[in-house]
Symmetry: D2
Subunit: 313 residues, 4 copies
């Protein structure tokens, strides 16, 4: 019998490590909680932590042990305040080096009204002011920018970056309804989450999504399997996704592709050659982020297609 926990965070961490758990949950339990924004500002507009993608958690999942895999389903991901903020300039490293001379020198900042009734974000003000985008309005597509589990070897990894443990992947696909799979490195897994975005372009090329605090409900369990996994995986019902985190993007793509090939082999019985035929003609890639110290590339394949031709069903 699973339990529904409601957790009000009072303390946050800007690196993902083996911190004191804030709550112990059993596999199958659901947690209703909140996250503050990347700058440490909560749903009431109060700055309650230093900036840097402060994380809610860690949550200790009982019976999760190193070598296991946990599954976390994002049941609900909804902004819990009426505004968000973004950077006002593309990052210098996403444009041609000689084009940097043409970028405005100040990074700038914009405020967006976020309306969860209309499900839209509207550009409200920006500094410096450039009245080029009056009434600029786009749909919401809330996501969790940074989440993960405590890494091994006593490491604590900055929430600016990402790795096999997850972290600051800033991928649009980590939204409500998705189930993510993460390798477990320490007892209890120690799951943490934060850095909500009301929406975000691919790559997070301006260095932010629409940064906002969130209401998040998630359910966690142990995903029993024979093999470990090496990179975050996800399933949204339509796509099987594997995320690789590294620089350059080429290496992130290698990690993601390899992880997806291994998934198809282990869980569906595809030989490497069969996966080559399948992925060669049908794989899709999404750019998670190209802003953070590690870039994120997601390799994905239609789940229905994988299932339809799986040698082992």
């Amino acid at each position: 019998m699973s339990t529904l926990h409601t957790f009000h965070p009072t303390k946050y961490h800007v690196s993902i490590g083996s911190w004191q758990p804030v709550l112990r949950i059993a596999p199958g339990d659901t947690v209703v909680t909140t996250t503050i924004d990347s700058a440490g500002v909560d749903q009431h507009g109060h700055k309650v932590n230093i900036a840097g993608n402060p994380q809610t958690g860690p949550f200790f999942i009982t019976s999760a042990n190193p070598g296991d895999v946990i599954a976390v389903r994002f049941d609900r991901v909804v902004p819990n305040r009426a505004y968000g903020h973004t950077s006002g300039r593309l990052a210098a490293h996403v444009v041609d080096p000689d084009f940097v001379f043409k970028l405005p020198p100040e990074r700038g900042r914009a405020i967006w009204n976020v309306d969860t009734e209309d499900w839209t974000a509207t550009l409200a003000s920006h500094d410096p002011i450039e009245p080029d985008l009056p009434d600029f309005k786009i749909p919401l597509d809330p996501m969790v920018g940074c989440f993960g589990v405590a890494p091994d070897r006593g490491q604590a990894i900055s929430c600016a970056t990402s790795g096999p443990h997850g972290g600051n992947m800033d991928y649009r696909g980590f939204r409500q309804g998705v189930t993510v799979y993460l390798p477990v490195f320490v007892p209890g897994a120690l799951f943490q989450l934060g850095d909500g975005h009301a929406t975000q372009g691919c790559g997070e090329i301006a260095g932010t999504g629409i940064e906002i605090s969130l209401d998040v409900t998630f359910t966690a369990w142990i995903h029993r399997r024979d093999q470990p996994i090496f990179w975050p995986r996800a399933d949204d019902g339509t796509w099987l996704m594997a995320a690789g985190n590294a620089r350059p993007l080429d290496q992130a793509l290698q990690h993601a592709t390899t992880e997806l090939v291994q998934w198809l082999g282990e869980d569906y019985g595809y030989s490497t050659r069969a996966s080559s035929l399948l992925l060669g003609q049908c794989v899709r890639y999404d750019v998670g982020n190209v802003f953070d110290p590690a870039y994120t590339m997601v390799a994905k394949i239609e789940k229905a297609l994988v299932e339809a031709y799986a040698p082992r069903r």
Copy 2:
């Protein structure tokens, strides 16, 4: 008054350069022609050229001059024979270096039945045989893998690779209905095309799409504008797209992003800061290829969104 040309190629080139034009066309003219497959095999199954993405053309577009931009609309892109072939293994450089030890050593090869009635490709046979994917069937999505214009400085660039002139970009989005824009480096532009794929996964990670000969109809004209362009651009009515070709993928992304920012500025009046706000939250990226010597990344943005908020309309 535009002319409809029907052109039957008899000679092909495996590098894109200032070769003798095969046909002179006026801006606005339409050409009905064919391409042979990447291995030099035509619609009748005859090997008529050496392998290496042999190109039909070049077509001389009268009054196109260096500094101009040509537009080429792919009016029709349809396979003209009943089979295609693919590689049977992922490329070594798209997986983790240590995973290469687990790839089958032989590259392998598969034959696919291509049915333009059903609009499907079905795996017919492969060598070595691994009966993992019986009756594997996927939808067609034909595309032109390699096309471009003669480069400057007397260069002739291998059809294995790509650059500002276009070339072997292997991007799924270069399909029927799209209009591509290319910079002109030599009088007449000297447009060439080939390397059809019945479909292809993102990245062309096995090193091939379903390689096939094509019927292609295209219309070319001069796209009058004040500024030159630096990388291929495209418009399919839904998306404005800019392609960057380079390694690593990070650099291809920089080229594509910069080109898209410049497009929004020149043609729609967006300041760099306004483009940052727009693209930062709304850009999408597609991986063209990560197989060829130069990788291709496409940055794209919804055309309707760009038009709705354009400072200059």
Copy 3:
């Protein structure tokens, strides 16, 4: 008055973080200590720790505070046992991806006799045995593969990798006689060191130097200056060196070059343009490692040249 400490380590860490200091030293103090090898084996051949570049320390340097810079001079770096070991195969990621198929599948391992009288290392045995290199003998050039200070934001960073805090840079130039400069992120700096190599090729392309335990004597002090530094710097009397740690190597080179330009400006008065003229014609680069998760590139310039033309002397 400075103190000479003799410190016998009994505990090691495989990540660099804010661990309990093992010794407090004053600026100017000298420490005589030992390091165990990367596999956790000490000078007596006893395995005393898990593998992964276990570090001696951390040493708390009194009065070192965040924003400061510490200097550490490696006064003595000498192997303290008679053998070392290396990997027996190039790493898969330092050769062409298609060449991986030709590498021996087992990594292998070799033992080397290390003679600090002769100052040579001689290949003693390897497994698998391939008698190609009988009596292969090379000069010693001992170095400290991994050292650094505790990073900020509560981070603890694996000794497999490197960053602004130092870490596993595996650079041949970090040998006896060099003074290294490191940014301070936490009170006391918390300096750690380990992973000795009797010698190593550039890039550590087989994944190891000749891994060995060391006697190390070092002297540490606070390097008073107005500006922070961002990456490890070093001075061996002949060269001014700046190390950048990142992937790809291009980015490591950007970090190293930028840090060197900033050094010439801050300490010698060179304008960016003057540095461009100087470095453009006189810079040298050394590849530290291309094996670890972050690669290391060192940009260096002759100190005498810098001093001879310094606007501010």
Copy 4:
């Protein structure tokens, strides 16, 4: 019996391709000739060609055929005029992207007096003027920045970049006394050369060496061997060197390392494992250029060491 040719060029090419040979030479012949500088200015200060590393040649080497390897020894490489010029600013892509905002926006240009008696270059003037480096004087170390052979598949490759055929590698080690080995793609090999530098820092990070016209004497022959080579190799008596040309630098390093391993195997009998032991502890890397479209990395090993332990001697 070999012939000494004196050749006065009157025509140059800014791409390396199958151009009309200017001279036919027999294997073993020596050619005394000149090159103009990268801007197309000759020894008399006359601009005789468009800029872009215009090449002297091509020289047709009789009996050289595709699959062969030619050897070219640079017998003499000496500036033939009294001044050279350099860029006045580091390239935007060799520093951190955010540091570009701090670079001077104008590229600038400096003139250097080149004295082949004193064997020095002295900064004479620069624009914009910044009097930071009065009497800045450095030793000459003349080199040939760009040379190569005609590539295959009808290609003509811009002298801005490099590849398996050689090209604009801008490597300091291609100086007087070195013998370079190049693969042959077309009958006669069609060797070309140009882009002299009076000296240059590693990486050509300002985008130029001290650009100058040269007197060059070279001797060419066919290097008979059983296997083809894939990248330029060189031997200066002390080092065996292999050059890889690609981006990112990681890939250039992979090419160079692979080529060196193959060299040691083919010509000296080292197994891949033996090469791993040798290179793992003794390889050195030189950064050729990190400015051009393709970067150049050189892997090198002491020739005496290779010969001392060679299984096949």
